[in-house]
């Protein structure tokens, strides 16, 4: 879908929220929902950060690490890709305390979502690194660079461009998964919605607003990643032409 259509959808979603906000039946719920949305955004941002760190670390460990590290990274990726995010969330929240590690709901949420998406992300990073042309490695070797230098200066900057679209999809997945944290008592957007729904039974206004808010957040993310992709690949095209 073109970036113009996406911007159009975002404007439409925000305008729709604006129009609904003029109605008493809807305005009532806005402050509470916005409060929840702030927590949703916080978890999404911190979770994404952790996911990127874990994704890069796991990919590098699996590709270039010594055997034990490679093993550890593989087990991490298989476990977090093989079980569902909700099970991981509950495991960290309910079972980890039995092992003497008690965390608050907020760090558990960031940890579970970040580790989950990071496992998928490691495959993205691996694919992107492998997609860099062989000649680049050979040229770097010819220039007598060390392995770390090659990765840092030659390979990763080029792999970065290929990583942007799939990471964009993963960030959207992560943003959507934040709704799960409502089930471990965090008062994010989904939690606020359910709480208000139980108190007032005004189901239609509440869930309409919530869907529009999630839509707006996803669209901002999608548009942002598209712009980043455009910028990054511009540089690459110039580099190739020169």
């Amino acid at each position: 879908m073109g970036i113009r259509t996406l911007v159009g959808m975002l404007v439409a979603a925000l305008a729709f929220i604006g129009v609904l906000a003029t109605q008493e039946a809807y305005r009532l719920f806005l402050p509470g929902l916005l409060q929840g949305a702030v927590l949703t955004i916080e978890i999404a941002l911190l979770g994404s950060l952790l996911a990127v760190v874990m994704g890069v670390l796991a990919a590098l460990a699996r590709m270039y690490g010594p055997a034990p590290l490679r093993w550890l990274a593989t087990v991490y990726v298989e476990i977090f890709r093989g079980t569902s995010a909700l099970v991981q969330l509950f495991w960290l929240f309910f079972v980890l305390p039995q092992f003497g590690v008690t965390l608050d709901a907020f760090p558990v949420a960031v940890l579970a979502l970040g580790l989950n998406v990071g496992a998928y992300g490691s495959e993205v990073v691996r694919g992107a690194i492998q997609s860099v042309a062989r000649g680049q490695w050979e040229a770097a070797t010819a220039l007598n660079m060390s392995r770390a230098q090659m990765l840092r200066r030659i390979i990763l900057p080029q792999a970065f461009v290929a990583m942007i679209p799939p990471w964009g999809n993963l960030f959207i997945e992560l943003l959507k998964s934040t709704a799960l944290v409502s089930l471990i008592t965090l008062s994010d957007l989904a939690f606020k919605a359910q709480q208000m729904n139980q108190n007032t039974f005004k189901t239609i206004p509440i869930f309409t607003l919530v869907l529009l808010m999630y839509l707006a957040m996803s669209l901002v993310l999608t548009i942002g990643m598209r712009l980043l992709e455009r910028r990054a690949s511009l540089g690459l095209a110039r580099g190739r032409a020169a």
Binding site: G82, T83, L86, F90, Q98, L183, A190, T203, F207, L211
Partner: protein, 219 residues
């Protein structure tokens, strides 16, 4: 003691019964997703005017969390006089959510069909129904089976969300066992292991299926 084997074996039959509900929800949800996704993709080609509407619809569904969509169907539909029980509403929500993803997969499959196939069908005066049924779909589906399989696994891993509307699937059962006995370690770990085992097995199946399909395509 952190892990109690006796307790784990005691709850295994209960979790086994719940696993059947999970698998039922997965299969029913995927049938809806695969069929509805195919319909969306075909309508998009057969009636080009609907293209924009369908892509906006797909974007809407993919941009909002499944959990909210489950709540939406479960809580909002009754306001319009359509009362669904939790299982039906949940399976429907999962099916519709993944139909949006599947429709894009089918679209990729259709896009890969050579133009000449469409032109030949027109030249042979085949109706568009026959063209789809006998020419396009038989060629478009095999290459995308692995992609659909990946979505089947993804859908399977989303079924624990049904616990949020109290469907008695694995996660909900594990939670109930946990709250009754104050032991969460065994039920939740067992549920995790079940998902891990099923995902690894299905990933291996998809990989071998991919091999078979590739070999057939080579011939």
């Amino acid at each position: 003691m952190i892990w109690d084997w006796a307790f784990a074996f005691e709850i295994l039959p209960v979790l086994g019964r719940a696993a059947i509900v999970t698998i039922e929800a997965t299969l029913l949800g995927f049938v809806i997703a695969a069929l509805l996704g195919l319909v969306l993709a075909v309508v998009r080609i057969a009636v080009p005017r609907t293209g924009w509407t369908i892509s906006v619809l797909v974007e809407l569904i993919r941009s909002t969390p499944l959990l909210i969509q489950i709540f939406f169907l479960y809580f909002v539909l009754p306001k319009f006089g359509i009362v669904l029980d939790a299982f039906t509403a949940g399976v429907l929500a999962i099916g519709i959510h993944y139909a949006a993803y599947c429709s894009e997969v089918y679209r990729a499959g259709f896009d890969n069909i050579h133009r000449g196939q469409w032109e030949a069908s027109i030249a042979l005066n085949l109706s568009s129904w026959t063209t789809f049924k006998d020419i396009i779909i038989p060629q478009a589906i095999p290459p995308i089976v692995p992609a659909l399989g990946n979505y089947l696994v993804a859908l399977f891993k989303e079924t624990p969300l049904l616990s949020a509307i109290a469907v008695l699937e694995l996660m909900q059962t594990a939670k109930i066992i946990g709250s009754e006995t104050f032991r969460y370690t065994e039920p939740i770990t067992l549920v995790g292991l079940f998902f891990l085992a099923m995902s690894l097995v299905s990933a291996a199946l998809i990989r071998s299926l991919e091999g078979v399909l590739n070999r057939r395509a080579m011939r």
